[in-house]
Structure formats: structure tokens, C-alpha cells
């Protein structure tokens, strides 16, 4: 990674924190554990912790737990080599204990990659459900524990109806538990139920964050989501292909905003609560593709309706984040245009960087 890329990410964190660093003061001198800590979410939490330590003297000791933590050393050496970041190589499914001095936990283990869910449904269920059970069991024995934030998914609500503007935290619809495609969402629902059980029976101070869609450096371009595909196609020179007319609506929160939101909810969220995390500002996939194309090194062509289809399947997936805004004073601080530009540039530099 280049110095410019590192500086940019530090600036991103500064922008997301803004003048509200005091909200995170409870994390000073604390031991923070992040499971699944080497993915997109974990990497941005590490960037944010490094920023808080370097620029605001927080002295957070961050522990990243993941099954292949060693990969992180090659992917993010500037983080992995820090003295205030420790890597623990462990599979959350078989977790027995966590560092006893842990004060705060963000449980991010479990890939959202639906290719993995479809190919390995049993492992997906185990990682999410058994993993959450193992972690909370270990957490229940921690004497210095303040709070555990479990990362769930906006998919737990079931499909959002097109006519609904956004999904609020109480907008549950029934999922068909025998539908193969609902396995991830059902696993996340079961994991949330386990958090309720541990809070009720053992008094574990746990709450949930339901994540929607995100953008930023560390996003892998081979992932099966529209924005990743658009970025990959744009950086390759195009074309960007969209099935249908591109009216499907999504929203994207930038990585540094995501990290600040999660730490803020960890500190300020109510135990037993659940908070939507994502951008409330929707954008059609057609407009998203156009913005990405505009920022690409060579502007790619955008192709709509690439194949004839028997049905129009435009969908909308937007969070109502008024609860997080009200209780934790959160807002989007990296505008989408800037988020796209930063992400395109980050990937372009990595691609152009000599190996």
C-alpha cells in the first residue's frame, strides 16, 4: 500500500469522526476484541483504532481474531505490524476463551458472500450460529466486559417491499426457512436470538447492529454484489453490464463511516437493542454505474437490459437509520460521490502498483 493510500484512509477516519471524538472516550485505554477481524469490517475497525491511537492518544489495544489472520499480515502490513494490534488465529466456531482483559467486543465473524452460503450452507450456519454461541459463552466469563456488539444483517427483515421507502428495526416479514436462499438471513436471525438468550440468562451486555451495504478500500472486487462488479468492470475498461433497466435501489455507507458508526453504537447503544447500519440515501444501480464510470481511469460503456427477461425484478434495500441517528447521533459524513472516487482511486492505484 502506498503512503498516499495510508494517508487517505487516515483522512477518511478523521472525516468520519469529525468533532465527535469525545463520544468514543470510553474506549480509551480499553481492550477491544474484533472477531472476523480481518475482513472489510475488521480492517476498517483496525484503521479507525489506529487513527484514534495515533491522532487522539486513545491507547486502544485491538485484538483481531480470525481463522486466517496470517493473510492479514500480507494484505495490511501497516496494521498487522503495529504494537497496539494483536492477531489471533482462531475459528470462532471452536472458540473456548478470549483474552481475559477484554473490555469491548465486536463480533463480525461470518462472511456475507452469498457464493459461500450457497456452496457451504452448513459451514455458514455453523459459523454464524455456533460461532455466536461460542463467543457469547466465552464473553460471559469476562469480568471486565463492558459490551458486545454482534453484527447481524439487514436481510433479517426479509425482502423489502418496493413501495416501502426504507426498512426500520421493527419491519420484520416472515422468511421461508425452507428456502435455500434464506439460509444466511435465517442464520443471522438465529444468532440474534442467541444474543437475547445470553443477555437474559447470563446477563451478557450484548446488542446487535444490522448491516446493509458498504463501499470503500478493502472491498474485494471478486465479490458477487453489484457495486463490486461495477468497480471491477470499470477498472478493467468496461463495459458495465446491468441486467434490466437498472432501477433497483441500494445505498452505500463508506468504510470509515461504518467503523465510526459501529464503535459509536458499541459505546452508546442500548443493551438488547438492534440498530440498522447503512446509508439511508438510496441510489439506482444505473446511477451508481454512471458515477463509477465517471470516476474510472477510462470511462467504460454502460449496457442496460443485456438479456431479455420475463420479469422486471427491481428491488429496493434501504435502511431506516433514524434509531441510530437519534440514540447515537450518527450521520453519513463521507458523501457517496467522494466514497466512490476514493474507492475507485484506491483500487486503481493497487492495480497499477508494481508487484
Amino acid at each position: 500500500m502506498t503512503t498516499k493510500q495510508l494517508d487517505d484512509m487516515q483522512n477518511d477516519c478523521a472525516l468520519s469522526v469529525g468533532e465527535d471524538v469525545n463520544r468514543l472516550f470510553p474506549l480509551r485505554n480499553a481492550n477491544l476484541l474484533v472477531t472476523g477481524g480481518t475482513g472489510f469490517v475488521g480492517s476498517w475497525l483496525a484503521e479507525m483504532a489506529a487513527f484514534l491511537n495515533d491522532c487522539h492518544g486513545f491507547k486502544i489495544n485491538l485484538c483481531l481474531l480470525a481463522p486466517r489472520a496470517s493473510d492479514f499480515r500480507s494484505r495490511a502490513p501497516h496494521l498487522a505490524s503495529r504494537r497496539d494490534i494483536e492477531l489471533i488465529e482462531s475459528d470462532v466456531r471452536s472458540l473456548i476463551e478470549v483474552p481475559r482483559e477484554t473490555n469491548w467486543i465486536i463480533h463480525a465473524a461470518g462472511s456475507p458472500d452469498n457464493r459461500f452460503h450457497f456452496s457451504h450452507p452448513v459451514k455458514t450456519f455453523e459459523t454464524i450460529v455456533v460461532g455466536t454461541h461460542s463467543l457469547l459463552n466465552a464473553a460471559s466469563r469476562l469480568s471486565a466486559l463492558q459490551k458486545v456488539l454482534c453484527l447481524s444483517s439487514g436481510l433479517v427483515y426479509g425482502p423489502q417491499r418496493w413501495e416501502d421507502v426504507a426498512v426500520a428495526e421493527d419491519a420484520f416479514t416472515a422468511l421461508d426457512c425452507n428456502n435455500f436462499a434464506n439460509l444466511y438471513a435465517e442464520s443471522k436471525r438465529a444468532a440474534e436470538t442467541i444474543t437475547t438468550a445470553y443477555r437474559s440468562q447470563y446477563g451478557v451486555p450484548v446488542l446487535n447492529a444490522r448491516l446493509f451495504a458498504f463501499i470503500g478500500p478493502y472491498q474485494l472486487l471478486d465479490r458477487p454484489w453489484a457495486i463490486n462488479n461495477f468497480l471491477r468492470d470499470a477498472l478493467r475498461g468496461g463495459p458495465i453490464r446491468l441486467q434490466g433497466s437498472g432501477e433497483t435501489v441500494r445505498s452505500y455507507l463508506y468504510g470509515s463511516d461504518l467503523a465510526f458508526w459501529l464503535l459509536s453504537i458499541l459505546v452508546s447503544g442500548n443493551i438488547g437493542g438492534a440498530y440498522n447500519v447503512g446509508s439511508p440515501m438510496g441510489i439506482s444501480l444505473k446511477d451508481l454505474a454512471t458515477k463509477i464510470a465517471d470516476d474510472a481511469p477510462r470511462r467504460p460503456r454502460i449496457e442496460l437490459n443485456t438479456l431479455p427477461s420475463a420479469k422486471v425484478s427491481n428491488t429496493r434495500w434501504l435502511p431506516d437509520v433514524s434509531l441510530a441517528q437519534k440514540q447515537c447521533s450518527l450521520e453519513v459524513r463521507v458523501p457517496l460521490d467522494q466514497a466512490i472516487r476514493r474507492t475507485v482511486n484506491w483500487h486503481a492505484e493497487r492495480i497499477l502498483q508494481p508487484q
Binding site: F180, N229, A310
Partner: protein
């Protein structure tokens, strides 16, 4: 008018019918004619797809490279497609060079219950920015719900459309309707259908697929394809035009292309022979017919018995060597004393 995308595997499935001996001249001639007719996608290659030329399933008379380069040169408008089965085709050795030659549409295929094996190939094609369809073969062997799960896997891997193949020509129209209807309902990408004509149902099944929501159909000139052949392309186009569908294909020119194909490269027009009916009834891949007949003659057994036994065992493409085992066992059983048989 509703739009239907026609994909033409005459130069791929038809290769089965001539033991993979299509020549470059034949490829060039048909490509030029089909392109002129406005066929959107022309698929070429060994009958079993890219890199399948082998002793086991038959050796091609020309290399994949020669065939693709020739086709590319003669397709100024139509997209060039290939059929790719992981196991035959590897990414660096076969798929990457094919894309470099200029293949536009890659149809990554597998047995109907094995979608997991297509992830890397589909992912690679998306990385290279080409269009990729997932193809599930021998789909009569799975019920609609299991088939939908396999199709969902392919969609998650990045497939931009799903084709289901009636590789054995075993379907009747309700079999097609129930499967296509489920896939169209569950998937977010277009669904297509590839028929074989063992039971004389290829056009009827294609129309059933269409009426259940499929928007991509395969057809080959004169039905040139494995076993009893495929849906007859020029006939399908005529029927679709009569039904009011838009294919973008010029009827007269596709009729001319089919005439040319018959004259230049189809030694025997596919008909529904007795063995093909048995193959369809048994639910065994149409491409087995020539192997079954040859091996049955060698072991002096009834090829119909061989087909039904292969069907009972659920044999699929790639297991051609089991034809010998089945024929040998039938031969041995027949030769054994009655007391031992019972």
C-alpha cells in the same frame, strides 16, 4: 413483441452427430450464413465443449483454437459462444486463450446437481468481462426445487442467465413448464432452455419453456445435434414468428442457412430412430447413442437393454466407459445358465 434470444449450437451439439469431425470449411460456411441471418449467438466446438477432445468422448478433427479463430473471422455481427465444462476445460490452459481469441459468451455447464464446480470458471469469465451463462445438464434427473437450488448457486457465482438442458430428450411439456416456472420465479436472471428431440417434443418443449417465462432458446439447423437432434432452429424461428415473438432473425436467411448446413455438413438428417426413443425413455444422454450401438454390437447385446440399464444406474455424460461394463454384464448374464441368473 416479446423478445426471445436465440442461441445456435449447431456447430457444437452437431459435432456429436459426426463424431466431432466438423471441418474448418464447414465452420466458416455455416458461421457466415447464420451471421447473415442475424442469429444472435453461434456456439462452436467439440460436442462436449472446450478442451473435451479425447479418446474417451471422441477426438476432434481440428483444434479448439483453429475452430474458434475460424468462427470469429466469420462472425462479424453475431456473438461467438462456447460450451465449457469444468473438468474438461481448465482456466489457464483453455478458457483464457479462448477469451483472448474473442469468444463473447461462455456457457459454463455441469451435471444438474454439481453447480458447485462452476464457481471458479464463472468467476473468471466475469473477471474478464465476458458474458457468462450457467448451464445445468440432464435436468430430468432433478426435481424443480433441487434444480432451483443448483441454479441459485450459479446465479450467486455470477451467471447472467441459466440454461437448463434436456440432454436426454426425456421431457414432456409439463416437465419443462414446472421447472422453468420455478426457476423464473426464484431467480433474478433470465432462464433458457435447450431441448433434444428423442420423444419428438423439442419444439413443443421449447414453446412450453417460453410460455413458462424462458427468454432464451437453443436451436440447431435441421436439428443437427446429439442423438435425435435438437430443436430445429429454422422451424423454431418460424413458429416463434408466427406466435408473435421477436428473434431478430431473418426467416428466409435462416432457412437458407439450414439448407446450406444440410448440404455441406449434415451427412444424415437427425431423425427419431428407435434407439433415440429408448434413450429418451431411459433418460440417458443423447450423445451416448453411437457409443451404445457400437459397444452393443461388440458384445452382441440389445442396445435398448443397454440404454435402459444405463438409465437405471443414472449414468451421465463423462461416464461413457460404463457402457462397456453394462454391455459386458448384460452379455455375461445372458450367457449364464438360467439357474444362476435367478
Amino acid at each position: 413483441m416479446p423478445k426471445i434470444l436465440i442461441s445456435d449450437p449447431t456447430l457444437r451439439d452437431g459435432n456429436h452427430a459426426v463424431q466431432h469431425q466438423l471441418t474448418l470449411e464447414q465452420v466458416a460456411g455455416y458461421c457466415a450464413a447464420a451471421d447473415a441471418a442475424g442469429v444472435p449467438i453461434i456456439e462452436v466446438g467439440h460436442g462436449n465443449g472446450l478442451a473435451a477432445s479425447s479418446l474417451q468422448v471422441g477426438e476432434s478433427s481440428v483444434t479448439d483454437r483453429e475452430m474458434l479463430v475460424t468462427a470469429r473471422k466469420n462472425l462479424p455481427h453475431s456473438k461467438l459462444g462456447i460450451h465449457v465444462m469444468p473438468g474438461f476445460a481448465t482456466i489457464p490452459r483453455d478458457l483464457a486463450p479462448a477469451i483472448d481469441i474473442g469468444v463473447d459468451v461462455i456457457r459454463v455447464a455441469c451435471h444438474c446437481s454439481e453447480a458447485d464446480i462452476t464457481q471458479r470458471h464463472i468467476g473468471y469469465v466475469r473477471e474478464r468481462g465476458r458474458q457468462v451463462f450457467g448451464v445445468l445438464m440432464m435436468t430430468h434427473m432433478l426435481d424443480k426445487d433441487r434444480l432451483a437450488e443448483e441454479a441459485q448457486k450459479m446465479e450467486s457465482y455470477g451467471a447472467e442467465a441459466i440454461m437448463i438442458m434436456d440432454s436426454a430428450g426425456a421431457f414432456l411439456p409439463p416437465d419443462v413448464s414446472t421447472r422453468i416456472d420455478t426457476l423464473v420465479r426464484i431467480l433474478h436472471i433470465p432462464v433458457g432452455f435447450h431441448a433434444h428431440n428423442n420423444l419428438g417434443m423439442a419444439v413443443a418443449n421449447s414453446i412450453a419453456a417460453l410460455e413458462s417465462g424462458a427468454t432464451i432458446l437453443d436451436g440447431t439447423a435441421r436439428g443437427f445435434g446429439a442423438g435425435a437432434g435438437n430443436t430445429q432452429l429454422e422451424l423454431l424461428v418460424a413458429v416463434l414468428h408466427k406466435m408473435g415473438y421477436e428473434t431478430g432473425i431473418d426467416l428466409y436467411k435462416i432457412l437458407d442457412a439450414a439448407d446450406l448446413a444440410e448440404k455441406n455438413m449434415i451427412p444424415v438428417i437427425p431423425t427419431i430412430k428407435s434407439i433415440s426413443i429408448v434413450s429418451g425413455m431411459a433418460g440417458v444422454f443423447s450423445g451416448f447413442a453411437k457409443h451404445v450401438q457400437r459397444i452393443s454390437a461388440q458384445f452382441k447385446v440389445d442396445p435398448r437393454d443397454v440404454f435402459f440399464e444405463l438409465g437405471r444406474r443414472g449414468i451421465v455424460a463423462g461416464q461413457e466407459d460404463l457402457i462397456i461394463e453394462v454391455a459386458n454384464q448384460l452379455s455375461t448374464r445372458r450367457a449364464a445358465p438360467v439357474a444362476e441368473v435367478v
